[in-house]
């Protein structure tokens, strides 16, 4: 047998876990591009330096994003990956595909690219890895004909994404899928024509379980919630208790606001709903016994991001409750206002959460025209000073 060209990478095929090396070798049987990708990576492992160059190329006619240009800095050694651009394709909301659509996507990518995909990237997009500049437009045209469009990249609105929501999940307080689709269609210009200081992400979860991790991964998080009392079916609570669930230890003691009480003797559960933060814990534990309150809507939060230029942030509440029904005008107006405020005040490569940290939440709320609410308080104050707006002081002093 011929000696392997990639002895270091081969190590990563050992063991029981799935291996990207195995996948890439499989692709390499059909595509010289995938083969050179392996060989270049082997060189990087050996020399402990990367061999990719940022290209600058951004896309296809009329678009400012959706293609992430990458080139090898050793095209002499690895001509197959002289160009290795990524195409970001807007995923269908909720990631629902017919097998036919998947086959179509794969056929297009076999025709134009390396055949390697990443389903899905952290933005949610379909990531098609590795093509050359001369294929960009024709690949885009084929994708368009099949009903697909590019997603966002660069200093733009990134492809919005949503949890599977009402399509499969009884806990969805809002139609996360429709909201995501509506936002995507309404903000096409912001998605395809980057003009912002930096990236901006919107994610929609149907409830506080937050299956798209919108609170950690999006600048603007939309999370379904409810108003009013959690609906309790005491009989079902008793059935859970009888079947071995320790209601005290596993449900009420873990309620973050300690607003639940379990009467062991009477076998009844009580909730002080005014103190409930609608975290979903108790409902997750006893789905048959507890249902969300009847009035549904969403909490809107701002500022989440992963560490890049600055550290990671979680989103914080700016609107405790908003009813969300088509055409979602109030929501979209608020997003546009925030985008414009950030665009005006943000520094280059400053995310909206970092900007709010810099100028203060009170400035943000005032400029956007939102009223401070107790739900915005993250933790008790640690600073002894109270800041008043000059006009507020005038009001107080008679």
């Amino acid at each position: 047998m011929a000696e392997s060209e990639t002895p270091l990478l081969d190590e990563l095929e050992k063991g029981e876990w799935p291996s990207f090396v195995k996948d890439m070798k499989q692709a390499a049987e059909k595509k010289p591009m995938a083969k050179d990708l392996l060989r270049q990576l082997e060189l990087s492992y050996k020399e402990k330096i990367g061999h990719w160059k940022h290209g600058g190329i951004v896309g296809v006619k009329g678009y400012g994003g959706g293609v992430i240009g990458r080139y090898s800095d050793r095209p002499d050694l690895f001509p197959g990956v002289a160009h290795f651009h990524t195409m970001r394709v807007n995923h269908p909301t909720g990631w629902f595909y017919t097998t036919k659509a998947l086959r179509t996507l794969c056929d297009i990518w076999d025709k134009h690219g390396s055949g390697l995909t990443n389903m899905h990237g952290s933005t949610g997009d379909i990531i098609l890895l590795g093509t050359s500049t001369d294929h960009l437009q024709s690949c885009f045209d084929d994708l368009s004909d099949a009903g697909f469009d590019l997603g966002g990249s660069g200093s733009a609105l990134r492809t919005p994404s949503a949890c599977v929501g009402p399509a499969r999940c009884e806990w969805a307080c809002i139609d996360s899928l429709n909201i995501c689709y509506d936002i995507t269609m309404s903000f096409q210009d912001q998605l395809h024509r980057p003009m912002f200081p930096y990236k901006f992400k919107i994610k929609v979860s149907g409830c506080a379980n937050d299956c798209v991790a919108s609170i950690a991964r999006s600048d603007f998080s939309i999370i379904g919630t409810w108003k009013g009392k959690i609906q309790i079916d005491q009989k079902e609570v008793q059935a859970y208790a009888a079947s071995g669930l320790d209601v005290q230890a596993e449900v009420t003691d873990l309620c973050p606001t300690k607003c639940m009480t379990w009467d062991e003797k009477a076998k009844t559960l009580a909730i002080e709903d005014a103190d409930c933060t609608r975290c979903m814990h108790c409902i997750n534990m006893m789905p048959k016994a507890l249902r969300q309150g009847k009035e549904k809507g969403a909490t809107l939060l701002i500022g989440g991001k992963a560490p890049i230029v600055q550290g990671a942030l979680l989103s914080t509440v700016i609107v405790p409750f908003m009813k969300l029904e088509p055409p979602y005008q109030e929501l979209k107006d608020l997003i546009l206002k925030i985008l414009d405020w950030w665009d005006e005040h943000g520094k280059m490569r400053e995310r909206v959460g970092e900007l709010i940290n810099r100028v203060g939440m009170r400035t943000f709320l005032k400029d956007i025209g939102l009223k401070p609410a107790p739900q915005m308080v993250k933790n008790p104050r640690t600073n002894p000073y109270v800041f008043f707006w000059p006009e507020e002081i005038k009001k107080e002093v008679k």
């Binding site: 940022h54 600058g56 896309g59 400012g64 160009h83 990249s153 660069g154 200081p197 930096y198 990236k199």
Partner: protein, 74 residues
């Protein structure tokens, strides 16, 4: 958006691209033209992009704009 604003945006790029630096954030254009409306500048940039006088340049995470004539050849 006026033809005047467009002219000023183009002037900004011509003036600023004399040195080694060719790529600019849209924000830098806004800063460089303090008497022009921010939205008008953005619209002007979009038009110049459509006409391919300007071109986008992106690292993947951050997008810049530059004169098409300076866009790196492959």
């Amino acid at each position: 958006m006026s033809a005047e604003t467009k002219g000023k945006v183009l002037e900004f790029f011509r003036e600023k691209s004399r040195g080694d630096k060719k790529k600019y954030y849209v924000k830098e254009v806004v800063k460089g033209l303090p008497n022009e409306d921010r939205h008008a500048i953005q619209e002007a940039v979009k038009e110049l992009l459509d006409e391919e006088t300007l071109k986008y340049w992106s690292s993947g995470s951050t997008t810049y704009v530059m004169l098409a004539e300076f866009f790196p050849k492959e």
